[in-house]
Symmetry: D2
Subunit: 161 residues, 4 copies
Amino acid sequence: MTMEKLIKKAYVESVEGRRQGDKIKEVKEIQKYILNAKNIVVPNKTKEKVKAINEVLEKFGIQKAKHLKFYTDACDLNRTPAISKALMALDIVDCDLVIARGRLGVPGSGSMLVIMDSKGRILSAALSPPHIIHKKSVEKAVKDEMTTALKRIGLNEKHES
Amino acid sequence: MTMEKLIKKAYVESVEGRRQGDKIKEVKEIQKYILNAKNIVVPNKTKEKVKAINEVLEKFGIQKAKHLKFYTDACDLNRTPAISKALMALDIVDCDLVIARGRLGVPGSGSMLVIMDSKGRILSAALSPPHIIHKKSVEKAVKDEMTTALKRIGLNEKHES
Amino acid sequence: MTMEKLIKKAYVESVEGRRQGDKIKEVKEIQKYILNAKNIVVPNKTKEKVKAINEVLEKFGIQKAKHLKFYTDACDLNRTPAISKALMALDIVDCDLVIARGRLGVPGSGSMLVIMDSKGRILSAALSPPHIIHKKSVEKAVKDEMTTALKRIGLNEKHES
Amino acid sequence: MTMEKLIKKAYVESVEGRRQGDKIKEVKEIQKYILNAKNIVVPNKTKEKVKAINEVLEKFGIQKAKHLKFYTDACDLNRTPAISKALMALDIVDCDLVIARGRLGVPGSGSMLVIMDSKGRILSAALSPPHIIHKKSVEKAVKDEMTTALKRIGLNEKHES
């Protein structure tokens, strides 16, 4: 079944009051979409985060992402900066998948990494505390978020024993 | 400084390209807002999640939340169900703070607990994998999310040694 | 130039503070997208509005829209019901273009007809006062909105003299 | 009844499938909110549009708006620039009402003037074609939009006979 058909079925279940939570075939469809993505972009001012993201994608057997260098600061004047950054990438390039990292909400609310499909739908995400609280390097924080965002929807590193 | 002034300053830093990440005074302002909230609501069809949330709030010395019983299923026909559920609560009642739990994105994408202020701004959040993956009880998942959402912005349980 | 390239250029102009308003080639790109759409859907509980919309589309030489019968009431528990209805249609079917009609904002705020592309971007729209104020038939209101939404971006009826 | 109670009632009607369109008391509540607003802001880079808006507000017996001078260009890298501009104003100042004018959707889609309350809810709006199509002066376009946005929800100029 396509993503659209699965979503339609889930929406009908919600309206009719008989939705019981996420289904395994919905999770599998998200996995399939991410594993099959051919054209993945990461909008960002600088290259470093893209490198960190690509190290994780490779471990999971996912296509490497391209850096979409752009003025992403503008997305911070917004209530959901990370989600807005992902949508902005969709607006300006053709791609299968966007991986965007930015602030979760208001200044001080920490960061969010979001995985979005070609229609602007959110497939997965991960959060980090504000940097001044977690004290991790940005590189480590981005890798942890990317890993969490994939693992939480059941994806695994290829050579995990 | 008020939340509005801090946000304005942060926005100016972003536009002028000199924003360096969340600041400790921004995080403190979020903490203060949550600790001082007098009227907290949790929109939900049933009472169970409200009970789990209140057990956590109490440990952190935060005002107990009221159950806003409502037709929250409608929010699932949406790209960001948890965020939409929080906004819907704001639309229909007066309150300081909304704590809403719902789906993160598309069906299969797992859940999000979001903490929103009286203007609809996101202060913190936490995510869980889809239930069929984590296998936790809903009660445990909600408590873990509520705890994570508070700890990630530097709040702590009152009697923690 | 593709829509994506035009949008990217416009975004750069905005960030660099030299954007001067909409350009004729941007408007032409929107026109071309709408005139070339092959698969247009109108999400709605009933058929009547689809019929009214199709009468207008035909006059403008645009492909007829298909009725996407669905539970669109859920979109009314939302801050931008018409826009949410269009996005919901994108979530559940594959299409080039969505034309959705719903409430503009809060209850009492009147209606909006929105034209959205396959990525969820708004191409045009039109508004009507609340029905109790304009007293037009729904059919007449929908036709007027559809006509206005097309004319405001420079499209014209085919046999207009 | 307060705005919140009216919205709650309307949401229940929608979920239960018995909503019949906007009600006169909902429209009256919007009117009352706008007529009683004490602190109105207009976010904009320059003063000219604020002046045009205030000339119209005065004719309708509404409190004059203050200019919120800010970097509003950032809101154009967004799918709903006018709505985002209004929300950005709410983020950075305390006010009863925001009147924001910006682009409706994608570059080329023309403009939108939106009236938003203190919680971020849309009360009314008006649209204009892209400037290169209507050829009106910006001042005239803004005045026409402001007038339309008020008249469509039943407000009238004070000395109209």
